[in-house]
């Protein structure tokens, strides 16, 4: 009997803990979550920067000729700029839509 009561007590404590976000008046969980579109763009931006750095390292190590590196670097930087434009556009749209105080 004591074991059953003990189990119920522990389960109740767990239930109290996990139900905090579900209670009325709980903080709005949405406001801290990153925008998935923005997150994806940021991730693509970081990946593109990594590609740019890798290409530079490959050129420094002699794996890419100056001409090949210049071509690849230009293409990668064009892609990165495009991503930055998309990020700026998304952030501009978000700030237009967010409530003013």
């Amino acid at each position: 009997m004591e074991a059953v009561l003990l189990t119920l007590f522990v389960v109740a404590a767990v239930a109290l803990f996990v139900s905090i976000p579900l209670r009325p008046g709980a903080k709005n969980a949405e406001e801290r979550i990153e925008d998935p579109e923005l997150a994806e763009l940021e991730a693509r931006k970081e990946a593109k920067y990594r590609e740019i750095r890798d290409a530079e390292l490959d050129r420094e190590q002699g794996k890419l000729s100056q001409a090949d590196w210049a071509r690849a670097d230009a293409e990668l930087r064009r892609d990165a700029i495009e991503i930055l434009r998309e990020i700026d556009a998304l952030e501009a749209r978000k700030s237009r839509l967010s409530p003013r105080h």
Binding site: V14, V18, S19, I20, E31, I33, E40, D58, G62, H101
Partner: protein, 748 residues
């Protein structure tokens, strides 16, 4: 109720509550994912935190029970005793079915809490499903413990025995103490990228973001698995007495398969991150890796590879098999349904590119895993089809694994020399020339100066390894040179800077160096081992390789506390006539029962303490086993046991239910123990007189120490590759400030 009894009840209550928390977390995660309800996603994450705290309490409770030798718990009574050393009391937890399942759930909960905390503000659409998958796995393992018979770590015994059975003597070794947690951490940590891959598939978020959040967990999983495999191999080498470190045993193979496929995954995700390619490969590889991790657990815990008929005797075999089937079928269905989202963003532009080499690497490593899988399960397959069990032994594995392993080393050397996309025309000679030339020199030197040509496979491995190592050195030098040209620093500073700034690349190169060391060592120690099995009496000598071993004299020792009898030897090792080492190999015999017979020592577990002396170039290794089947010894043991029975056992045994009867039984046990001691002393004397011949196995293993050194180097490289970059650390700090600012603005 005592505090000890209360703590056991509390531990069981926590395990049940953990089950409930995982069940709720799975449901809340699914609800939160389907309905985009962030509150339930947060609630599910809290359920994981709660389960973690509860499982910590379970583990602490059981460890405390082991430390105080609480034999009211079956787990403690079956795997510990009052005389078990403290370290092995604490590590005995995972020596049992229930304890190892608890370890699985415990590590899973900690890793899940870590990744869910790190991603609590990210991956809005993926995290709910990943949480559900992780909670589902936690629910499964907690459910196994509570509902599969014989797997409950809190199972009580009544009546409570006065003494425990003790730990299996084979497991009383430091390497074995931490081998299971390392392996299980490796298995479990692969569940993190798996869960996020499933979440990404369900949510149709199949860019590289799920990889970025879980890459370090995959790397840590690989690292722990590597350490676990090395510890197991090291234990085998020094403890089992057969002279090897890898026997293609099913339990060994169970850990190698996820390691191989996990290695392919770690390489392949780099291609998706940089080039948006190999998406189908990556989700398939991580699902396969995790399924193989579960398979590893299944092989060890189900008993299926002892015999398919033994499978039915294990209570966890069928549920584990069902889980593996669910993982494989579920992930396959999801991948097929999402194929359109998994299209590569680009194609391989050139075969002379890093991504092309990574693709070849995927094929080689998966091919190796398939070979190991086939060889491991062949006994089951043959038994199921023909009714007769056929086993594929080490030579079969060596025949098919060796060529692929050689190719892996070759491509390990080629990959770093290439650029992403393609190497510029005309650069290939400059990049490949020096390492190829070095490999050629090494090949000629080995051919002329050694007998490597007698083992073509090993010779090719050494040559490709030389190519790969030279390529790696070139990478470090080129990177340092470029840095030096930029900053004007010295070589050492430049090398340090370029490594630190490009941790993933150069950490990976260090891992490659470690792997190459290990492969070369395996090739050398397997192909050029000198070995001999010889029977000797004191004074005899034998020659193995450049060494002469002389059996100087026998030794005998008895440990009453551990009920262990040790027959040992002192051997002198000479080289060029000079004594280079004196070794003391021995064989330990543990009494299997408290029956008070001499034979009980030789019917229980026996372990070997090897004699070993080694350096960078080779290991001298010897193990001994006395021949106790000699008629003189056999007759002595039989006669001694008959006399002990005749002297101590009365014609009529007393009733053990009566106090008088119990006192008589205790006296009988004491008398038997005393007579057993006298007989063992006599047996020790016979052994020390040199009357018992001893079988020695003697090995000279070239380069074997480099397996462990290579492994350590690989682990260091993995740690470096996993270390966060300075920009990542700065980004996290600025995220915290950004969040605070946003919060403050909302309040104003």
């Amino acid at each position: 109720m005592t505090f000890a009894e209360f703590s056991i009840d509390f531990g069981l209550a926590c395990l049940i509550a953990a089950l409930a928390a995982f069940a709720y977390g799975a449901g809340a995660g699914i609800w939160g994912g389907r309905n985009a309800d962030r509150r339930f996603v947060d609630s599910a994450r809290r359920a994981v935190y709660a389960a973690t705290a509860l499982l910590v309490i379970c583990v602490v409770t059981l460890e405390a029970a082991f430390l105080r030798s609480d034999f009211s718990l079956a787990l403690v009574a079956d795997h510990s005793s009052t005389t078990t050393p403290t370290l092995y009391k604490m590590t005995a937890l995972w020596g049992s079915q229930g304890g190892s399942l608890l370890l699985w759930a415990f590590v899973l909960s900690i890793a899940s809490s870590g990744v869910l905390f790190a991603t609590r503000h990210k991956h809005r659409e993926v995290v709910p499903w990943a949480t559900a998958v992780l909670c589902g796995l936690g629910l499964f393992f907690c459910g196994l413990m509570l509902f599969a018979g014989g797997a409950n770590p809190f199972e009580r015994l009544s009546p409570v025995p006065a003494e425990g059975a003790g730990l299996n003597p084979l497991l009383r070794h430091p390497a074995m103490a931490i081998h299971p947690p390392m392996l299980y951490s490796g298995y479990v940590l692969f569940s993190i990228p798996f869960a996020f891959a499933i979440g990404a598939l369900i949510a149709r978020r199949l860019d590289a973001s799920w990889i970025r959040s879980t890459r370090r967990f995959a790397l840590l999983a690989w690292m722990f698995l590597s350490v676990g495999i090395l510890l197991g191999a090291g234990w085998s080498y020094v403890e089992l007495g057969w002279g090897g470190y890898w026997g293609w045993d099913p339990v060994e193979n169970a850990s190698l398969m996820p390691w191989l496929v996990g290695t392919a995954f770690l390489h392949s995700i780099m291609v998706q991150e940089r080039r948006g390619m190999l998406k189908v490969w990556n989700v398939s590889l991580i699902c396969a890796t995790f399924a193989l991790s579960l398979l590893g657990t299944f092989l060890v815990r189900s008993g299926i590879l002892q015999s398919i008929h033994a499978f039915g005797e294990s209570t966890v075999g069928t549920p584990l098999l069902l889980l593996i089937a669910a993982v494989l079928i579920g992930s396959t269905v999801l991948i097929v349904l999402r194929l359109s989202h998994l299209r590569s963003e680009r194609r391989v532009e050139s075969m002379a590119s890093r991504e092309a080499v990574f693709l070849v690497n995927n094929v080689l490593l998966v091919g190796l895993a398939v070979i190991v899988f086939w060889g491991t399960f062949f006994p089951l397959i043959s038994e199921a089809i023909t009714g007769e069990r056929s086993t594929l032994a080490a030579p079969w594995f060596d025949q098919y694994v060796t060529p692929l392993a050689i190719l892996v080393v070759l491509f390990t050397g080629i990959g770093p020399l290439l650029a992403w996309r393609k190497v510029s025309a005309g650069r290939a000679l400059r990049l490949f020339g020096p390492p190829t030339a070095f490999a050629g020199v090494v090949l000629i030197a080995l051919f002329v100066l050694t007998d490597s040509a007698s083992e073509p496979g090993a010779l090719i491995m050494f040559t490709f390894a030389a190519f790969a190592v030279a390529g790696l050195i070139g990478e470090f030098l080129r990177g340092a040179s470029a840095q030096k040209a930029l900053t004007g620093d010295g070589w050492v500073m430049s090398l340090g800077r370029v490594v630190v700034r490009n941790r993933r690349r150069y950490g990976g190169y260090i891992v490659h160096a470690g792997i190459i060391m290990a492969f070369v060592s395996i090739a050398a120690s397997s192909s050029f081992q000198d070995t001999d099995d010889v029977r000797m009496l004191p004074g005899d000598s034998t020659t193995v390789g450049d060494y002469e071993l002389t059996y100087v004299r026998p030794t005998a020792f008895r440990d009453l506390e551990e009920q262990r009898l040790t027959f040992g030897s002192i051997v002198e090792v000479r080289r060029d006539g000079e004594v280079v080492e004196t070794l003391t190999p021995s064989r330990n015999y543990y009494s299997s029962s408290s029956t008070g017979t001499v034979r009980s020592f030789f019917e229980g577990e026996a372990t070997s303490e090897v004699g070993r002396s080694g350096g960078a170039s080779e290991d001298f290794w010897t193990a001994m086993r006395p021949d106790l089947t000699e008629p003189a010894i056999e007759d002595f043991i039989a006669t001694a046991d008959q006399r002990i029975d005749r002297i101590t056992i009365p014609d009529e045994l007393p009733d053990p239910a009566t106090p008088g009867g119990q006192a008589t039984m205790r006296q009988i046990a004491a008398d038997r123990s005393a007579l057993q001691g006298i007989a063992i002393t006599n047996l020790e004397g016979r052994f020390e007189d040199g009357q018992i011949p001893v079988d020695f196995r003697i090995n000279v293993n070239p380069l074997v120490i480099w397996i462990w050194i290579g492994g350590a180097v690989g682990v260091i490289g993995a740690l470096l590759a996993a270390w966060p970059t300075a920009s990542a650390r700065r980004r996290r700090v600025s995220d915290v400030y950004a969040a605070r600012l946003a919060k403050d603005l909302n309040r104003a």
